[in-house]
């Protein structure tokens, strides 16, 4: 029973919306209109409290909850899925810095955009590969090492690489000389972003947020060749110690420094 019904039930007949003679009652009508407002305000307050909780919040509240819980939303991620991730914020943050969480947050970013194969590899050739079907990340320690970036491999153990295979999108290759030219609007070095969709700068931000503080994410590697940089490959074709020179890097990928 709403307030309007409760007040109407308490009111004398001459204050009911419709009088005993069946005619509208002016006093009762005004009281009914006023108590209808009270019902609306009560619902307002109820909805306002529910807005704090991901599962009951209106869609435009999720971004604010996301800010408070520090969970980034993908550009095409729907409200229901994002709400579930917001609800799981504590569990997610408990593994901040872990490879699984870095990959799961990147995967969430790509929700409804694509399923680009993703993997992390450390300086010690420890691979973490994300499975889009199961959502599970698998760790593999490869020996002998199959990811030998340069002469520091094996000593700078705090380095890591994030590999996103974007052969099937969402990013596309931007070859030298194609439009927009270097310095033109909206262009990045070696990669085109889909309009209104995923952005490389977002990936960099997510990686930096979730990586361990000490890890130098040497590069975000966007590959445009699905055969490149597999955890099962040997070195070569994986980097074989001379990738400090960009000229030696496989041209089938774009290498974006991320840093610490």
């Amino acid at each position: 029973m709403g307030i309007r019904d409760y007040i109407a039930a308490l009111s004398p007949p001459w204050l009911e919306p419709v009088g005993e003679d069946g005619e509208p009652s002016v006093g009762g009508g005004i009281l009914y209109a006023a108590t209808t407002n009270l019902d609306a305000v009560a619902q307002w307050l109820t909805e306002g409290i529910k807005a704090r909780f991901p599962d009951t919040a209106p869609p435009d509240a999720l971004g604010y909850i996301g800010n408070d819980r520090q969970i980034d939303r993908g550009p095409a991620e729907g409200a229901p899925g994002y709400a579930v991730r917001l609800r799981r914020a504590i569990d997610t943050w408990r593994n901040a810095g872990g490879a699984r969480t870095i990959l799961s947050q990147l995967a969430a970013y790509f929700t409804n955009i694509g399923t680009p194969p993703m993997r992390l590899v450390s300086d010690s050739s420890v691979w973490h590969v994300y499975n889009w079907v199961t959502g599970i990340t698998t760790k593999t320690v490869v020996s002998p090492a199959n990811w030998i970036w340069d002469g520091f491999t094996g000593t700078r153990w705090w380095r890591g690489w994030v590999i996103v295979d974007t052969t099937a999108g969402p990013f596309t290759r931007h070859l030298w000389g194609s439009v927009p030219l270097w310095g033109g609007s909206g262009g990045l070095w070696g990669v085109d972003e889909p309009p209104g969709g995923a952005k490389v700068s977002d990936l960099v931000r997510i990686i930096k947020k979730w990586k361990p503080a000490n890890v130098d994410v040497h590069h975000l590697v966007l590959t445009f060749n699905s055969t490149l940089f597999e955890s099962t490959d040997t070195a070569p074709p994986n980097p074989n110690g001379n990738y400090d020179n960009p000229a030696n890097r496989d041209p089938g990928a774009t290498y974006i420094p991320v840093g610490t």
Binding site: P17, V18, P24, V26, G29, I30, Y32, A33, A34, T36, N37, L38, A40, V41, Q43, W44, L45, E47, G48, I49, A51, R52, A57, P58, P59, D60, A61, Y64, I65, N67, D68, R69, Q70, A89, I90, W93, R94, N95, A96, G97, G98, R156, W157, W158, R159, S201, V204, K208, K209, W210, K211, P212, A213, N214, V215, D216, H218, G259, T260
Partner: protein, 386 residues
Amino acid sequence: MTFSLSDLINPKTRDAFITEMLAVADSLSLPTTAWQPGQWTRTMIALFAEGSSAFTKLIVEPIRGGFGDLLSSDDWADAWAKGQFDVDRTPAVAASTDTFTATNSTGVGYPVAAGDMIVANPITGKTYRNQAAIVIPAGGSLQFAIAADEVGTGSNAAPGTITTLVAPSLIGVTVTNPDACLGADKETTPNLVLRSRAKWGSLSPNGPKSAYDYVATTPFLPDGTPLSNTATPITRAKTVADPLTGAITVYIATASGAPSGPDVTIVQNAIDKWAEPWCNTATAVAATPVSVAVTYHAWIRSTLTSLQLQNAIAAALAEFMSSVPIGGIVIPPATGFVYVEELDVVISGANAGTVKVTISLPAADVPIAASEVPVLGAITPTITIL
């Protein structure tokens, strides 16, 4: 009826309620179009609408109070931080110095009980008291600790400015502060929100950056364990790693600049205890202050005095500068800066009626390295009241 958050956080006007009430009355076949202003029917509706509107102004406050970006007051911010994160606002700290000096030129020693010596800055009028019982030796001098009677940065004093002995009357005794006397204001709400959110990182044993930032800026853990009960609150932290060594450096700063050596040590101990994973090396380092002097000319329509307007601008600049992150404002891929445009916004917003602002110093955006924190330098104001 579905609500959006923007519906829920903005009060509804009296006129909107009147419109809705008339619509309800109309639906009940009441002759609403015949009701004239001043008639009791319209008056009753206006009264109910006014009351409903006032009620919505009340209820939007607790609704906004559920979101860190929408908090409407410090009280709601405190409740939000405590309720969501169990984080308390860092309170204001009284300005203090341990090296306050009294020199006695007489042949008689003066014992003074704790709190009985009152000294003052003759320019600001702020007063300070000795923190422990002292005896000023005959024909000698004594260094001891004083603290301001009022908490906050309003009692900050530059070296050599606390020179008036107010009480007791001690013949032949002169006083001065060889070092700056510094305190801190209570934590601002934007900083409280940022620090609260950084607490998420402390949940992980894997050492994300936010874990270091949170531990460096938070005096206590939820169990009450003191972490960094520094003399001056650490309000800013920036965690960076050296790609050549993998070593982590946590640069820290207070609202007024670099923290003291002992405070850096306290933060280091806190990081060692609560943030640093095994096999990692993190070092707390005081950020290097970079003085940013500001020379401006503001044209303001106002009935306030020039000094009042200047003071408002000085306060706004001080608050702004105390909130600039270590490393400055970074717009990737550029490194950090203090932007002149932002100073312009701060000065323009300090007083109602500001028509125009020109800034001649800094002449260009001030670069701030990752290890540096900007502090407010000398302000040279020119005010033209229109």
